[in-house]
């Protein structure tokens, strides 16, 4: 039973992708059904994990290092559930955009299989414990993501997709080199096995390579420049997947590499580089977001900034003083932040897509007066903005609170100030669109109507982001299942 539970989230989307190519007329329905099925399965899996602790299976009975091993711990299952939630809603929301275009268009035909492939890659990345499998998952993910960027075939988005591809390849090469080096030194690629052996300098070099490869794929500053044009150029549902889900896969792998595999190898320079680049990303991305005049670009730059926060976990992990009643605050906070960002960013891109459809363009000026015309979508936008700014009550706040406490408790004030400044800058760039929505002067006279049920979809995701903050005790405890020791103790002794 557990074998099926772990393997189906990977297998089902793959299977559905094949079927969607074959039976393209039913592709939309198939994709939606898969989305909900996987969501159901992953929730089930989460309950199993909560009840019985981490679950490990070897496909076909072949144990590592020979076979493929999947493992669901709190972190993996958590990401699986949240990404399935986002995916399910996004697939429903995508239906009107790609259904109407008919079967003849390339977009209408290709979107569903690509989305499903992306889904499969994502789930593999969350569950897999093998460096090679992870590489395959990342490739699957990246390639379908690039295709999704270019799916409408507009000149701008094709350029953006190509640039995305170049950076993605660079990341892949680095990761692959690292994996090869690891295999050459230790004759295994399983994270669990590698964690048990004595690691030497070849592994240090391998980790350096893989870390940079993953950082590039996660669009860490200064390797982020490809992201905003790519995410802003894609159709809104695709943007939602790209921005909310794709970078999280590489980040989860990065977490596993350092906290599960080789915490003892970490050096102060590593922490400084990852944390420092994350901090610069927060500030740089936010400042650029403030300067944008297109809504989707603002949201995309916001992703650059928000991903930067995630990297603060490296210097901050373990930074809890004796006064705190919890441990592993920063490590848990990183996951919380990722969850909140997944939900809120997807909601925001979906809402932006609706605005774009109603107004016909995504220049900020077009947002004038929308609070009156599309109240639900605006409300969803507002709620997700609250989570992105890290204001209470929201998942973003819980994450920020835990990170800040870690920063202060360990005396690393600088990171704390970055967090605070990032929140304020986010307020500036997110309230610009909100302010316009509430300005009735100069509002467009006629809008393409958007049905109510479509507006409710982003609201659902935004509400989930808020509820994550209100009921964060459960997820918090869940994430501790199978938590590596370094998560509580920090990366440096």
């Amino acid at each position: 039973m557990t074998t099926l539970l772990l393997s189906l989230p990977v297998a089902l989307p793959l299977l559905a992708a094949l079927l969607a190519v074959a039976a393209s007329r039913q592709a939309a329905g198939l994709a939606m059904a898969t989305g909900f099925l996987v969501l159901g399965l992953s929730v089930w899996l989460a309950f199993e994990v909560a009840a019985a602790g981490p679950i490990t299976i070897a496909l076909g009975g072949w144990e590592a290092p020979l076979g493929i091993v999947l493992r669901a711990d709190g972190l993996g299952a958590g990401f699986l559930v949240v990404s399935a939630m986002v995916m399910a809603v996004v697939l429903v929301a995508a239906q009107p955009s790609f259904e109407d275009q008919g079967q003849e268009s390339r977009a209408g035909f290709a979107f569903w299989p690509l989305a499903l492939l992306l889904f499969a890659g994502l789930n593999t990345a969350f569950l897999s414990r093998d460096l090679f499998n992870l590489f395959v998952a990342l490739e699957l993910l990246t390639l379908s993501a690039i295709a999704l960027v270019a799916i409408e075939g507009k000149a701008g988005s094709v350029t953006a997709a190509l640039r995305y591809m170049v950076f993605a390849l660079l990341g892949s090469v680095l990761f692959l080199l690292g994996a090869a080096l690891a295999y050459a030194a230790h004759a295994t690629l399983d994270i669990g096995l590698l964690a048990q052996v004595e690691l030497g300098w070849p592994m240090a070099a391998a980790l350096a390579l893989m870390t940079m490869g993953l950082a590039i794929k996660t669009a860490l500053f200064p390797f982020h420049a490809w992201l905003p044009p790519a995410h802003a150029g894609a159709p809104a549902p695709a943007s939602a997947m790209l921005s909310a889900l794709v970078p999280k896969a590489s980040f989860v792998i990065l977490l596993r590499l350092w906290f599960d595999l080789a915490p003892e190898l970490a050096s102060p320079l590593l922490l400084a580089v990852l944390g420092g680049l994350g901090a610069v990303a927060v500030i740089h991305g936010s400042l650029l977001a403030i300067g944008q005049d297109r809504l989707k670009l603002i949201i995309a730059y916001s992703t650059v900034a928000q991903l930067g926060y995630l990297f603060l976990v490296f210097p901050l992990a373990g930074g809890a003083g004796g006064a705190q009643p919890w441990s592993a605050g920063a490590w848990t906070a990183a996951s919380f932040h990722a969850f909140a960002h997944m939900l809120a960013k997807a909601a925001m891109f979906l809402a932006a897509g609706l605005f774009l459809r109603a107004v016909g363009h995504d220049r900020l000026e077009g947002l004038r007066g929308l609070a009156r015309a599309m109240p639900i979508a605006c409300f969803a936008f507002g709620l997700s903005a609250i989570s992105l700014m890290g204001l209470p009550l929201s998942g973003g706040f819980t994450a920020k609170y835990l990170l800040l406490t870690s920063a202060f408790a360990s005396g690393q004030w600088g990171w704390g100030l970055v967090l605070v400044a990032g929140g304020l800058l986010a307020a500036i760039y997110l309230f610009r669109p909100l302010n316009l929505m509430f300005s009735k002067e100069g509002a467009a006279a006629s809008l393409t109507p958007v049905p109510r049920w479509e507006q409710v979809l982003p609201l659902l995701l935004a509400l989930a982001a808020v509820l994550l903050g209100l009921f964060s005790a459960g997820p918090f405890a869940f994430l501790q299942i199978g938590r590596p020791g370094a998560a509580a103790e920090g990366l440096l002794p």
């Binding site: 640039r163 680095l174 070099a205 350096a208 940079m212 200064p222 390797f223 420049a225 320079l269």
Partner: protein, 548 residues
Amino acid sequence: MNLVIGPLLPFVALAWPLLLGLGAAWPAWRERALWVLPAAPLPALLLAIAWPEGSTTAPALLLGTVLVLNAPGRLLLGMVAVIWLAAGIFALGYFRAPRKPAVFAGFWCLTLSGNLGVMLAADVATFYVAFAAVSFAAYWLVVHDGSARALMAGRVYLVLALLGEALLLVGLLLGVAAADSLSIAAVAASLSEAPLALTCLILGFGLKAGMVPLHMWLPLAHPAAPTPASAALSGAIVKAGIIGLIRFLPEDAGLWTTGLILLGLVGAYGGVVAGLLQRNAKAVLAYSTVSQMGLVLAVLGAGLTTEAALYAAHHGFAKAALFLGVGVLAATGRRALPWVLALAALPALSIAGAPLLGGALVKAAIKPGFAGWLEWAVALSATGTALLLARALWLAVRGRADAADARPAPLLWAPWAGLILVALALPWFLLASFSTLTPGYVLGLASLWDATWPLLLAALLAAPFLRLRPRVPALPEGDLVVPLGAAASAAMHTLRRLPEPTGPHLALPGATRGKAVLAALEAALLPWRRGGLLAAALVLALAWSLAG
């Protein structure tokens, strides 16, 4: 918890006017609202005449209200009630077609209630509330006729009343803090150690009582009000300041002993000089009040508290009678003039201390407080008073009715005559209990002479004026108010026109330049070769640090 501990009548005496005042606003009664005026002070009168001494408490009211009935308060309470009663009856005859009778009646009652309250209050909060009520509600009485002159007078009145309230608040706060008690007696006892509190209180009360140089509002406001209200203002309301001083002055007032005497005498003479230069009978009477209150302040400075209360009470009756007299004279034609004028002169003579009248008794009562040149100064002030009041009557006669056979209505002359009677007679009954003297003393030859010579002197001084009729320069009502008012309004104007700080704005300096720099940086990071080089460099650095 009991709502009221002790007899209820003191509270009834205060609440009754308020109830009547509210009732006057009732639409059906509005037109005949003035009829409540005579009824309003009746319970207070009963209280003052026939109630035993004692105190009453209402813990829930304000900060715990305590009312007390005792000697100086009772006398002034009775005076207030009688004056307001007479003025209320007079008002019925005075207003033919009253303007906004309900509003007038309402504020009349509120002022009255406050005026009674200051005489009864034994705790600081109640006193302050009552004082504020009498101060601010009286504003509506001043501006009742709505003329530009009345509004102007009202404005000055209000500004100074506010200043007085602020001074009082500061003084009371300091006093309460020094005594750590809300009881007036306790505060008074501790004031000799709190000179700042004492100063604030004396200035605050002095302002109400027309102490120089804070008297400016008085000659403006009293003439501007309708005659019955002028009577109440000059007769009763100024006594709120006097009772304040009586209640709060400590045994040892330090420098203020001298200060009060000096300021009082300056007022006593200054009021005469400024009053003689007036052209309006009511303004002259108002200056006479300034002058008389100056004497009372001097008496208080000399430490004769009960005598001061007696003097003030007599002045209240007589001055109210004089104001009403102006109204009566205005309703009298040439034919009835001699009789009316003869009666009107009685309170004037009484205030000037003419022998055998009530005023002579109270003047005799305050005499022991002064010695040396002060004694002479006080005695001589009666000459000034006589001249001043003669001038007032002279001006009032000039304002008599045009019709030769006009006669004042009973509603006008009856309360007036009543007041005159009280003013002349009451001191005979009270002298023994309010001073060390007995009525027999004033019948002595020496004291008869003391009372007579200032009047003779006044007649001597007046004679050349009556013959020669020189042109006297006129002084604007309120004297100092003219320059001070101009200065104050200029200051206020400047304050309002001070440059406003610019409102908050959100534009960031250098935003456009920063935007360009960031965009350039972003463009520089776009080519993959740069990214690749950066990545390679970082990989090398990391590998080196991780391995080492």
